[in-house]
Amino acid sequence: MKPKVIILRGTATNCDIETFNSFRYVGAEPELVHINQLLAGGKKALDYDIMAFPGGFSYGDDISAGKIYAVKMAKLSRDFEKFIKGGRPVIGICNGFQILVKTGFLPENRANKQVSTLYTNDCGHFIAKWARLRVNKASPCIFTKGLPDEIDLPIAHGEGKFIVEDKGELAAITGRNLHALTYAENPNGSMLGIAGITNPAGTCFGLMPHPERNFFAWQNPDRPAAAREAEAAGYQFFKNAVDYVG
């Protein structure tokens, strides 16, 4: 049986289709579901094996990035909590990470309280470029398993600066190696250069860079002429999720 992936979208979720394509390529059965369909009860989150929050500008990123989407999810928080606590894989990419932070699902805490945020980049505006990332081999994150020490992925965000309210929270992240990905050269001012964090179980993961944009070797700017090798670093994130439930 192919694992069923719910790819959650809403107004101006822009990276839903490439995320859909990526999951399908690694052998899953993805489905695009609008948050309105969950709210209306036509679809149930718990009917799926894997959940993905793609990148984009959900609801224009008005108020702050991912905030409106997070508010819409609040009515269904019991289902989402069950999904995550039940250990089913959840990945939030870029705007999806922002949503997971604004809902309080990441960093994980008992009350689902928002304890961190992704704030406006230090440069003050949107940036799209490739970034070198360090993979934390000690992290429990299931999505980054088997990756080399360093990988390249593109970033594309205006609000990617990961900050937490108090130092204790940061120690809780680093102490348990929840920071699965860090930037080699900090592009946005994130604390400790954090690019992605997971819950302690390793199953709920949010990251600012876009693995679906370095899925194949020919998506890399340093592509050798006539690149023939297929899968690149980003492929592993999706494959890992499918392998985990399979």
Binding site: F126, K129, A226
Partner: protein, 722 residues
């Protein structure tokens, strides 16, 4: 129109039809699916005849001069709607933008109320960024050109390309269909936007003629359209652009007539007059022709996507346009009058005389290396990274040929190569397409005919350098000119249009869509008319059979031989070098189109065989700039000996001249014999080797021009424009 050229006079009834459209008709390429009729041109895409590629470019100059941020946003939004409104709707997969601004370091005094070029540039870049990023379409091709001719009238060209299933290209309003408006609401923004765009800009100009953009509303409309299209829920669609409802409904109902009840329109502002509702250019509105029985299904999708809509009336089939607001009759006219009753104006055109002199250009006094560094730092040559990185140029995951490429992800790509996986949903089909541009008003000041030829040549060459199949190039023309009342402005236009015709014929590259913009002139600080130079943006696209094999510009491996393709010709006219140090030589090296077409066919064979590791065109700044960019983008040096290309040229012409139809190629080691066999008889010469040591050493036989550290060259080039 009568064109006077010395003693001769040539008459045109319709200049564009007799030049640009004529070339397309004569070429009659079977892969052209729709040209000059719909909101965008459409060509075949990929294998199996399943898809069409729609491509359109237009300008939004006047709004950007007055309100750069809003003008740029609504420019982007407008051209995206053209793609959404072509056929039954195409899925946008690429945005392009090309800007012309006054020099940031210009000395000319600005008139009262004019915005500084820096302020215009910042506003325009932010507008393109905020609209394109929010709507999720990669902005991955274009350019920025600085020239004081654009100080008072900046140009903002916006383009969009999208994919459409071939069975969704035809649209037809059926009598009885409902007129449904979806997306944005109607307000008082953008009243008279269309007429404003052909007026002089002065202190009387009001910013209320500029529309207000809202990318998220357009994304909702996009998401609804793609779903409703595939379910066949409407018979026709078009966008509300200039003229708003009046032109969109007028266009769709040209045969059936239309019955419109303006009181049904969803409004932003209740104080709006009925005529204002009819002509308002409020953004993000699409008009659909919906069979009555399908409205319910369509409404369900609209509601699910939180997209507002209203039913404005119906297409009755009686050929009359009847527009009412409650009891009030606003318009009651036969459609035939509206579509056929345009008066024709007679215009005069005459050839402008330019004195050409061609002395041998002198050696740069500070040496060739210093001159190269100044060229690399020139605003029309230097890096655009600070602008490009503000655009999400990789959303949709299909930007295979990137605007920034190479070992450090910052080399200047020649063309965008797009793999439209977000439209085809097929990761096992590697069909893609490339998009590039050609633009050179500096040549146009001297010779508008050569400008047209060489802009088309540059666009084709850029496609070739990215590994596209240039035998199937399709092109768009976008002219911007000053006042059509000036015979010399019209004379330039005639010559450029003739150039477009001749180049399209020679390259076998049909025009599939085009647009022009006039009255790009304003009064300067002294009250004198200050026109822009004639500006022709050529946008070109060609298929890339396998995106995995698309080429990049950066040197790949030490020891690989470097070749120069194409003959270097004398003449410094239109060159960036002349702007830095006027050589007194303003001769434009003419383009030999026959030779170019033959050369490109040979190079295409070599690229297809896999002999070529990197390719880059020779354009602004000349050969030395091309070599520098290939070297520092790859992190390699090179030993270059230009003796085989010299042919009696001075060092300045050889290194910094911009004669057309030339590329530099890096050939893979061990493939040279095969490469040479494939380009036999063509002007292709080996000029050196890539080397590990990061030094670019260029000489011609015994004469050493310069040896420069590639990272020092890069430091000059990588300026922060913004």
């Amino acid at each position: 129109m009568a064109f006077r050229d010395g003693a001769k006079t040539k008459k045109y009834r319709n200049l564009f039809k007799e030049t640009i459209v004529k070339a397309t008709r004569t070429l009659n390429r079977k892969w052209c699916l729709s040209v000059f009729t719909d909101n965008a041109g459409i060509v075949e895409f990929g294998k199996g005849g399943k898809w069409g590629l729609a491509f359109k470019a237009e300008t939004h100059n006047h709004p950007c001069a007055v309100e750069p941020y809003g003008g740029a946003e609504t420019g982007v939004g407008g051209v995206i709607r053209d793609i959404l409104g072509v056929g039954l709707g195409a899925k946008p997969v690429l945005n392009t933008d090309t800007f012309c601004f006054g020099r940031l370091d210009g000395k000319k005094r600005l008139p009262k109320n004019a915005l500084s070029p820096e302020r215009v540039m910042r506003g325009v870049v932010e507008g393109v960024r905020d609209y394109g990023n929010r709507i999720g379409i990669p902005t991955a091709a274009g350019g920025i050109y600085f020239d004081d001719g654009y100080l008072l009238n900046p140009l903002v060209y916006v383009g969009c390309a999208g994919l459409i299933p071939v069975d969704k290209i035809d649209k037809k309003v059926i009598p009885g269909d409902l007129i449904v408006s979806i997306g944005g609401r109607t307000g008082r923004d953008g009243i008279h936007g269309a007429t404003f765009s052909s007026a002089n800009i002065d202190e009387e100009t009001s910013a209320s003629a500029v529309q207000i953009g809202h990318a998220v509303n357009e994304k909702k409309a996009l998401d609804v359209l793609m779903r409703a299209r595939d379910l066949g829920l409407y018979n026709a669609v078009t966008d509300c652009g200039a003229g708003g409802f009046s032109s969109a409904i007028g266009e769709l109902g040209s045969e059936t007539g239309a019955r419109v009840r303006l009181e049904k329109a969803l409004l932003k502002d209740t104080r709006i007059e009925p005529w204002e509702i009819w002509v308002s250019e409020s953004q993000e509105r699409m008009i659909l022709s919906v069979p009555k029985g399908k409205l319910k299904k369509l409404a369900a999708i609209l509601d699910a996507e939180n997209c507002e809509y209203c039913v404005l009336g119906e297409f009755p089939g009686d050929g009359r346009l009847l527009v009412t607001h409650g009891e009030e009759r606003v318009v009651d006219l036969p459609m035939a009058f509206l579509h056929g009753g345009v008066p024709n104006f007679e215009k005069a055109a005459s050839r402008r005389r330019v004195k050409i002199s061609a002395p041998a250009p002198a050696r740069p006094t500070a040496g060739y290396g210093r001159a190269l560094k100044s060229l690399l730092a020139h605003p029309n040559v230097c890096s655009r990274h600070s602008v490009i990185t503000q655009y999400d140029h990789e959303v949709q995951g299909g930007t295979v040929g990137k605007p920034l490429q190479g070992r450090y992800g910052d080399g200047p790509g020649d063309a965008a190569v797009i793999w439209p996986q977000a439209a085809t949903l097929d990761l096992h089909d590697f069909s893609g397409f490339a998009v590039s541009h050609g633009f050179n008003p500096a040549i146009g000041r001297i010779d508008p005919y050569q400008m047209a030829l060489q802009s088309i040549d540059e666009a084709v060459r850029n496609l070739l350098a990215a590994g596209a199949d240039v035998s199937r190039t399709a092109i768009l023309d976008n002219f911007c000119a000053a006042s059509p009342r000036d015979p010399e402005v019209m004379g330039d236009l005639v010559l450029a249009a003739e150039g477009c015709h001749d180049a399209a014929m020679a390259y076998g590259a049909p025009f599939i869509s085009g647009k022009d913009s006039f009255y790009n002139q304003s009064k300067d600080a002294d009250g004198r008319e200050y026109p822009i130079p004639l500006s022709l943006l050529i946008s070109a696209t060609a298929p890339v059979e396998d995106v995995r094999r698309a080429l990049t510009i950066n040197f790949k491996e030490a020891g690989n031989p470097v070749y120069l393709a194409g003959a270097t010709a004398p003449g410094m006219g239109g060159s960036v070098y002349n702007e830095l140090r006027d050589t007194g030589n303003n001769a434009v090296a003419p383009l030999d189109m026959k030779a170019a077409v033959k050369l490109y066919a040979g190079l295409a064979r070599a690229i297809k065989a896999g002999c070529v590791a990197a390719a880059h065109d020779v354009s602004q700044g000349g050969l030395a700039v091309t070599l520098s960019e290939m070297a520092f983008s790859g992190g390699f040096g090179a030993d270059i000996d230009l003796a085989p290309a010299r042919r009696g040229l001075t060092g300045t012409e050889l290194l910094f001249g911009e004669s057309p139809a030339r590329l530099v190629l890096e050939v893979a080691k061990g493939r040279e014999a095969e490469f040479l066999r494939l380009v036999k008889g063509l002007p292709v010469a080996e000029i050196g080797y890539v080397k590990e040591e990061p030094l670019l050493c260029v000489s011609a036989g015994p004469e050493r021009f310069f040896t420069e550290d590639i990272f020092a060259l890069k430091d000059c080039w990588k300026r922060e424009l913004i």
